[in-house]
């Protein structure tokens, strides 16, 4: 019995008692050869274990106390700490709102894309990311450069050089990656276990139809600021929001949770819907392209308007540009010539002054006039275009054949005061108040300053300056029975929740002429096309009213530029119940320059396509090509992708959309009122939902292009 060496050991007295008991027991069991020392060894071992057990128990108490302190006493503070370290500010880009045409087709959309950057200091291999013993010895910067360069279309050695620059903690690898590029990069980063790379979301604007209505739409600068066109004028509605949002980040600074890409849908912004009809706009753009090709005009403008409502259905301008690459635009391409240039209208102004004459009772359509080919006013000789006289004619003929002499005489009868007053009433000399950005007011005489020659030449559209939109709008007043309308191009602006923030409405500015006078002028203008100077604008089967105009171009330095003309044509169709009014203006055509030669045929070709496309029935079928033949002609331009049509319950089965342009896909989806989220640009290659999925009107289809 060596054990109790420490007399002070607390267990000692008990031990003594136990020992005695054990001794007794040991004696009892002596037959089993258990001597007391063995029994003692047993007991002592157990006592030691018990003592050590108390030590552990004390440890447990400490742990419980510590856990209580950390979790119960400090729980809240620690929870805040945990939340703090996992939360971070994340700039969530709500992409800029879309611009749609009147049928909901997307003209401008924003897509959130990812930009890749790297912190070269973090671009090292972390053993914690590799399975035990599998970490290769390599230069991760080299590996990264070589793996990423081919995917991003960059040079590996340049990339490597940037990664190796000392002290740099932020290097853009590539900005606004295409989604498939971003996917590949993510894959590579994961496979190769490369650290330090991060994505930043950036918004990128896509003009789905490239140069279609480019000047109307305008474009957006790098910081999401609308710089031109509707993008600028409706910037406050369209502007995307970069909201600072609290999100969760892991310790490596990567966003935790679903990829932001998938949330784009939920974060759509206000939508601006224009009165523009993309199909008509397309026809208009093509017509202007052809016109420029044929006439080599320096610039051109064309506007298509609904004369009854003031809605601008199409507005094209040359030279033009692709807003997707606005940096490459030719000089002067940003100007929307439909509203931005002022020119001397020439003969197209005659119906305005003619209407004034009819209103004032100075003339009637049948008032006789003796045309001598020229007329002298205040020392100035005013000639007809060919200098020839037609002899005894009526006022109708004056309009029909665009006789300058007759108009000058009318002008003199009206006097400068009334001429100017009517011109103002028809909306000249002031901006139209339309919401098309970049409008000019034009120039009118102050009647007090007008000498008799001014009074005479104003009646033939000289000495004043107008914009194409002003001119078209004035003609619309004649077309619709005398009401001057305020043109508009923004149909409505809709918030994501469907609230209409702004709505364009037909607004009558004033009654300019009586319906009777309008009717008389319409008849005269109809004759211009059917019998007079505008025959080249005839469309078989339709009644067209119009007026040609050829004016010498004003020099910015004053006076006229010799040999340079502005040829225009303005008209509406069908003339007895006008649906479309259009103006076409060619600036400085080479070779032929008369409005009747260059502008009227374009007017004809353009409206013919629109009438057919819109299914406007001809009033007279003689000599008409069949609708089918015209349709098949346009069908060649269109995609083989059939336009979808929703069933009776609004459901539609989604086809495979791969292999088409954004425009084609948008058109196809638009038919069933499905909305498109295009991602990337080029040709479609992937879509969600998958082909065959049954969708309903209003659903969204995401299509990836490359």
């Amino acid at each position: 019995m060596k054990f109790p060496k420490f007399p002070g050991f607390p267990g000692a007295p008990k031990k003594q008692a136990a020992k005695q008991k054990n001794a007794e027991k040991a004696r009892e069991s002596s037959l089993l050869h258990l001597d007391s020392s063995h029994q003692d060894v047993l007991e002592k071992g157990n006592r030691r274990v018990t003592t050590l057990g108390w030590v552990l128990g004390f440890g447990i108490l400490l742990v419980v106390g510590r856990l209580f302190y950390l979790q119960v006493v400090q729980g809240r503070a620690m929870e805040r700490e945990a939340l703090d370290q996992i939360s971070g500010e994340h700039i969530e880009i709500s992409p800029r709102g879309s611009i749609l045409d009147r049928n909901g087709e997307e003209l401008a959309v924003s897509v959130v894309s990812k930009s890749l950057y790297v912190d070269p200091q973090e671009l090292v291999d972390d053993p914690a990311r590799w399975p035990l013993g599998k970490m290769p010895s390599r230069d991760p910067k080299k590996v990264a450069a070589e793996a990423l360069a081919p995917v991003l279309d960059l040079k590996a050695d340049e990339l490597y050089g940037e990664f190796c620059e000392p002290d740099r903690r932020f290097v853009w690898v590539k900005r606004t990656l295409d989604p498939h590029e971003a996917d590949r990069v993510e894959e590579i980063l994961k496979d190769q276990k490369l650290s330090g790379f991060h994505f930043k979301e950036e918004s990128k604007r896509f003009y789905t139809k490239n140069n279609l209505a480019a000047q109307v739409l305008g474009f957006v600068g790098t910081d999401d600021e609308g710089l031109e066109g509707i993008e600028a004028s409706e910037d406050e509605y369209l502007k995307g929001q970069n909201q600072k949002k609290r999100s969760f980040f892991d310790a490596k600074g990567n966003l935790v949770g679903p990829s932001a890409m998938n949330q784009v849908q939920a974060r759509r912004m206000n939508t601006v819907q224009l009165t523009i009809d993309a199909r008509m706009q397309f026809i208009l753009e093509k017509s202007l392209d052809e016109a420029i090709k044929k006439t080599h005009a320096a610039s051109a403008a064309a506007i298509l308007m609904d004369p009854n409502t003031g809605e601008i259905l199409g507005m094209a301008s040359r030279p033009t540009f692709d807003p997707n690459h606005f940096g490459d635009a030719p000089k002067g391409a940003f100007m929307n010539r439909g509203v931005g240039i002022v020119y001397e209208p020439g003969s197209v102004f005659k119906p305005i002054m003619g209407s004034a004459g009819l209103m004032e009772g100075v003339i009637t359509p049948n008032t006789p006039f003796n045309d001598e080919g020229s007329i002298d006013v205040g020392g100035r000789r005013i000639r007809n275009w060919d200098g020839k006289g037609m002899g005894h004619v009526t006022f109708t003929d004056v309009i029909k054949f665009s006789l300058n002499t007759g108009m000058a005489a009318l002008g003199l009868k009206l006097g400068g005061e009334r001429e100017t007053a009517y011109a103002r009433d028809f909306g000249f000399g002031s901006i139209t108040g339309s919401d098309v950005p970049g409008e000019e007011a034009g120039i009118l005489y102050d009647p007090k300053d007008m000498v008799p020659s001014d009074v005479a030449t104003m009646a033939i559209g000289q000495g004043i300056a107008v914009t194409p939109l002003q001119m078209l709008r004035a003609i619309c007043a004649i077309a619709n029975g005398g009401t001057l309308l305020k043109p508009y191009i923004v149909q409505k602006i809709v918030a994501p929740d469907g609230t209409v923030l702004k709505e364009g409405k037909t607004e009558a500015v004033r009654k300019v002429i009586t319906p009777e006078v309008a009717e008389e002028m319409r008849t005269m203008m109809e004759k211009v096309v059917s019998e007079g100077g505008g025959k080249t604008a005839q469309i078989k089967g339709y009644k067209i009213a119009g007026k040609t105009g050829t004016a010498e171009k004003l020099s910015p330095k004053g006076g006229y530029i010799p040999g340079v003309y502005i040829a225009s044509f303005v008209g509406f169709v069908p003339s007895d119940a006008p649906k479309y009014a259009m103006i076409i203006m060619l600036d400085s055509p080479k070779g032929a320059f008369y409005g009747s030669q260059v502008s009227a045929p374009i007017f004809r070709d353009t409206l013919q396509q629109i009438l057919v496309a819109e299914g406007i029935q001809p009033s007279n079928w003689d000599g008409l090509p069949t609708v089918e033949s015209l349709l098949s002609k346009t069908a060649k331009e269109a995609a083989p992708l059939a336009t979808l049509e929703a069933g009776e319950d609004g459901s539609v089965k989604l086809p495979n959309l791969a292999g088409h342009s954004i425009r084609e896909v948008a058109a196809a989806l638009g038919g069933a009122k499905l909305s498109l989220i295009p991602i990337g640009s080029g040709t479609s290659w992937k879509q969600t939902p998958a082909p065959g999925t049954v969708l309903h009107s209003g659903d969204t289809v995401t299509v990836y292009f490359r």
């Binding site: 027991k25 069991s29 979790q71």
Partner: protein, 398 residues
């Protein structure tokens, strides 16, 4: 006999087995929750560690039951010395050629299998101590650390501990030495020597701290990790944040935030912190309770074991499982400095898991053989047999 263990179980053996299952289910789930983020990043598969856990754990369970049913721990003792020599060889090899992970060479890689010899050493030391000290106890000798006839096992363990220390793996080295010391204490090491041991340990530690300023810094950081939360105190601070943010009832399974690369070693040594974050104070108490019951069960088994070597084996395993568990929890919540001590069944580690299961298997075999011996003693003759049975006389002297 017939006395239920803590009402729930027929005997402590049942309790032990069922709690192993409980801990493995909880441990597997917790490892999955703690590791799926890192696992996804590293292997592209969030179940990697969960699968590996059971890939080790299921054969480990089979091994545990096999040893418990068929194994005879006595048969191991003749080989203990050879096992230890072999392990010393392995440790030397690992120190020379082992795989470096996080700055320490402790891995041996054999094809697809990699393991830590130092984990094997833990069990080997228990067997060594049980064999050596058990014989001393049977001979009625009191072990002394300074007597050359009783200090051999200690020296051998100290040498192995040293080999592990220079890997460097201070935690495992400490555990190896501590297990042997515990066995010495249980075998009757004089209190004077225990105090001398404690005092010299403290003196050594003080000297070490004074000698190298960076160690002093470590100690200061341990005492106040918040003084350097981004540097040396990072691991401890992250652990506190994880534990504390669990509050009373926890964030819920899988909902903890620390696994997102904030808490290093989230699925291994610091798995308990993740558990605390997701299950709160109440969950932590429950887990603690499981380990306490396990400890009591092992204690009862040891107490009822007559064979001294079996008794020491059971006691050693008790400290291997429950002692390590408490040390790990103390480390995770900042009572002990951050040294690598795993939480059995809860921390991910294939070698550690299988070794722990084998150790439990050995305990089960101790139970079985003890019971068999008791029945043999009880079965045929005489009244004294009853008394003998009651006192649980042993087969330790056949």
């Amino acid at each position: 006999m017939g006395k239920r263990f803590l009402l729930l179980w027929a005997d402590p053996r049942d309790a032990l087995v069922s709690l192993v299952y409980v801990l493995m289910l909880v441990g597997g789930e917790n490892i999955f929750s703690a590791s799926f983020v890192a696992s996804q990043d590293m292997f592209g598969n969030e179940y990697h560690y969960l699968i590996r856990y059971w890939a080790f754990g299921l054969p480990g369970l089979v091994l545990m039951h096999a040893i418990g049913r068929k194994g005879d721990y006595h048969k191991l003792f003749p080989y203990v010395q050879r096992i230890c020599v072999f392990l010393i060889g392995l440790l030397l090899f690992v120190d020379g050629y082992g795989k470096t992970l996080k700055g320490a060479q402790r891995w041996l890689i054999l094809g697809p299998i990699s393991f830590q010899p130092s984990e094997l050493v833990k069990l080997a030391v228990i067997l060594l101590g049980a064999n050596y000290l058990g014989r001393l106890m049977e001979e009625g000798k009191q072990p002394h650390l300074l007597r050359k006839d009783t200090c051999l096992a200690f020296l051998e363990a100290a040498f192995m501990s040293f080999l592990v220390l220079i890997q460097p793996d201070m935690g495992t080295a400490a555990i190896i030495l501590a297990l042997m010391i515990v066995l010495y204490v249980v075998a009757g090491l004089p209190y004077r020597e225990i105090f001398v041991l404690l005092a010299s340990g403290a003196a050594l530690a003080t000297a070490a701290v004074i000698q190298a300023p960076y160690r002093l810094n470590r100690v200061l950081v341990w005492l106040d990790p918040w003084s350097d939360p981004q540097g040396n105190g990072y691991q401890a601070v992250q652990s506190f944040v994880a534990i504390g943010s669990g509050g009373i009832s926890g964030m819920g399974h899988g909902m903890g935030s620390s696994k997102f690369f904030f808490l290093p070693e989230a699925h291994t040594d610091f798995a308990f912190a993740v558990f605390c974050q997701e299950w709160g104070f109440l969950g932590a108490l429950l887990m603690l309770l499981v380990f306490i019951i396990m400890g009591l069960a092992l204690y009862r088994i040891g107490k009822e074991t007559q064979d001294r070597r079996g008794f020491l084996l059971v006691t050693g395993v008790n400290f291997l499982v429950v002692g390590q568990a408490i040390a790990n929890m103390a480390m995770v919540c900042g009572i002990l400095p951050v040294i690598g001590v795993p939480l059995p069944f809860i921390s991910y580690g294939g070698t550690s898991l299988v070794i722990t299961q084998a150790a439990i298997g050995l305990v089960l075999s101790v139970c079985r053989l003890e019971k068999a011996g008791r029945e043999r003693a009880e079965a045929p003759q005489g009244a004294f047999r009853h008394q003998a049975e009651r006192k649980g006389t042993g087969r330790w002297r056949p």
